[in-house]
Amino acid sequence: MMSDNQGISDSSPEIDADSVAQAEEKALAKQAFKAEFKELAIQGLWKNNPGLVQLLGLCPLLAVTATVTNALGLGLATLLVLVCSNATVSAIRQWVPKEVRIPIFVLIIAAFVTCVQLLMNAYTFGIYQSLGIFLPLIVTNCAIIGRAEAYASKNPIKQATFDGLMMGLGFALVLLVLGAIREILGQGTLFDGANLLLGDWASVLRIEVYQLDSQFLLAILPPGAFIVMGFLIALKNAIDNYVKQRQPKVNEQTIERVRVNFDS
């Protein structure tokens, strides 16, 4: 973008009108580009959120969100895999035959998941152990292959990467909120065991929200995840409905048909 602007300022006055038109066109294109990115962000974070709206990848979402730390660990891992896989799928989209695209996407995703798994094994061993099977299971997370198939395989790298980032962020945010609610309800703490993920300094992050003599096991067990998830989805729908009602109503033209029954 910057080089284009310099080119305009260097041009001679004869083709000034032309360059103005070009600049306007470019500004428009830039606006459209910006709008596209904004739309991608809104889609990923709210309107088409993988956790709340698409309901994809529910298995890890419900299984490991007993604490914020676990949720954050899995959210970051999924985010990283989603961004990298979207970028790669988009980069090689010209050379992938339609017939075998799904196996190729799965291979790409599996490669990145293996990288993330090895990295977490090396640097955050505690969280690697507490995530257990759900870390390698990111390969089968439908949210990731869904984005590769639905968006990355049809769009340029920049947009695809940004889409992966926004979808991953949306997923990670849902994980975080779910983990926070379940941890507060279940143990009365926040960021318990954050040092497993972020290093020893993070043990100061642990907040004791209230003292519990006995854990509220339902919130920690899977049924609690389903119930809290249901409440989150309901809250999102309620907010959407409220916003919709606040907006001015567009009067739609109603078409009324008159039918005349000649038989009777």
């Binding site: 006995s214 509220f216 096991l217 339902l218 919130a219 067990l221 119930i227």
Partner: protein, 377 residues
């Protein structure tokens, strides 16, 4: 001159929901009194707490859902009945927040979130009980022995204090209250039997424990205290059947099924299985049979379906009591039967008069009619 012609049935039963609920609550009273006599004030305090919470929650949710005639729905007695049933099931000296959380869960999540009275797939009281049992295993299994067996007397104010603070006025903890003279923690008869059988004792050896013997007033020698509570619930249930408030099919089939299961086990190996009467008169057997399985919303509706559901529940209760991880299985059995009820209803739909033939061919359901029209097209 035209007369207004109503369709059948012409003979209306003018009963209202509130009248039915009131009758069921009255039928529960003898059992609650027996509980009070044998186990002290705890359950009455818990019932009061649960009812207050349930009414508050019902009011809040109904106003949030902006329903009309809130007063009528609030006082139709369904929330009160659920809360009373929950309060009966909770251990007498469980902390106060147990019944508050349970009643709130029963009303808000199990009942109102599914659409309120008549739309809930699960019995609110039992779902809340299972939720509490899974979430707070320690508090929900700290049962008090019958007052006659206790070392430390508990009057009303002391019970209230224990429920709210965890200690009596003299400073005894819940654990100390449950301890016998010999220093053992006393559990319910079902729990004791399960633990002792697990340790390799025979049933005869187990029943020498003071909670089984008949050396106290009004003891029948099966399970002191519990037998009378179950008998009074049985009496209340029979009253409901006599008043036509519930159908006899579910409880009878449930009790028969439990009887048959325990009879077979008892005749095969009497040393390792409890008697049939013990199974009938301990735990929540009679309460479950007459007051919970017969819930018109969550149970089966056809006669055959009711018989099947009762039999399944009896089998499940026996299996859970004998082989399961928990000493009593009525609540779990009820929830499983609630899940099965719609399917059972689907397959036991009664034949409409004049439709279908007497052979096992099912009456034409809407699906098969659709299929027929599809094939015609």
């Amino acid at each position: 001159m035209a007369f207004w012609i109503a369709s059948s049935p012409h003979n209306h039963n003018q009963a209202e929901t509130s009248a039915l609920m009131r009758l069921v609550i009255y039928a529960l009273l003898p059992g609650i009194l027996a509980q009070w006599y044998f186990f002290g004030w705890g359950n009455i305090i818990h019932i009061t707490l649960a009812v207050a919470t349930a009414m508050a929650c019902e009011f809040i949710v109904l106003s949030l859902r902006s329903k009309k005639q809130i007063r009528k729905q609030l006082f139709d007695g369904s929330a009160i009945l659920s809360a009373v049933l929950l309060g009966i099931c909770i251990p007498a000296i469980a902390p106060w927040w147990i019944s508050v959380i349970g009643a709130a869960f029963a009303i808000v999540i199990v009942k109102q979130l599914y659409g309120g009275l008549g739309h809930n797939p699960f019995n609110p009281a039992m779902a809340a009980y299972v939720m509490l049992l899974i979430s707070f295993p320690i508090q929900m299994t700290s049962w008090l022995p019958p007052t006659a067996l206790m070392n430390i007397g508990l009057d009303f104010s002391n019970t209230l204090m224990t429920i709210f603070t965890g200690f009596t006025a003299e400073g005894y903890s819940v654990e100390q209250l449950r301890t016998s003279i010999d220093g053992f923690t006393m559990a319910t008869p079902l729990d004791t039997l399960k633990t002792d059988l697990g340790l390799g004792h025979t049933v005869y050896e187990t029943t020498q424990n003071s909670i089984f013997t008949n050396s106290y007033d009004f003891s029948l020698g099966l399970a002191y205290g519990w037998e009378w509570i179950n008998l009074t619930f049985l009496a209340g249930g029979l009253l409901l059947i006599a008043k036509r408030a519930i159908a006899w099919h579910t409880p009878i089939s449930f009790l028969l099924s439990l009887f048959v299961c325990s009879f077979i086990a008892y005749s095969v190996s009497p040393d390792s299985s409890a008697s049939t009467m013990f199974h009938w008169l301990t735990g929540g057997c009679m309460l479950g049979a007459f007051f919970i399985l017969t819930d018109p919303v969550t149970g089966a509706t056809s006669i055959k379906g009711r018989l099947i559901i009762g039999a399944i529940a009896g089998l499940l209760v026996y299996l859970i009591r004998t082989f399961g991880g928990y000493p009593d299985g009525v609540a779990f059995a009820v929830l499983l039967c609630n899940m099965a009820a719609p399917l059972v209803d689907q397959y036991t739909r009664p034949r409409t008069y004049g439709h279908g033939n007497t052979v096992a061919k099912p009456a034409p359901s809407s699906e098969s009619v659709n299929k027929q029209t599809e094939t015609k097209q």
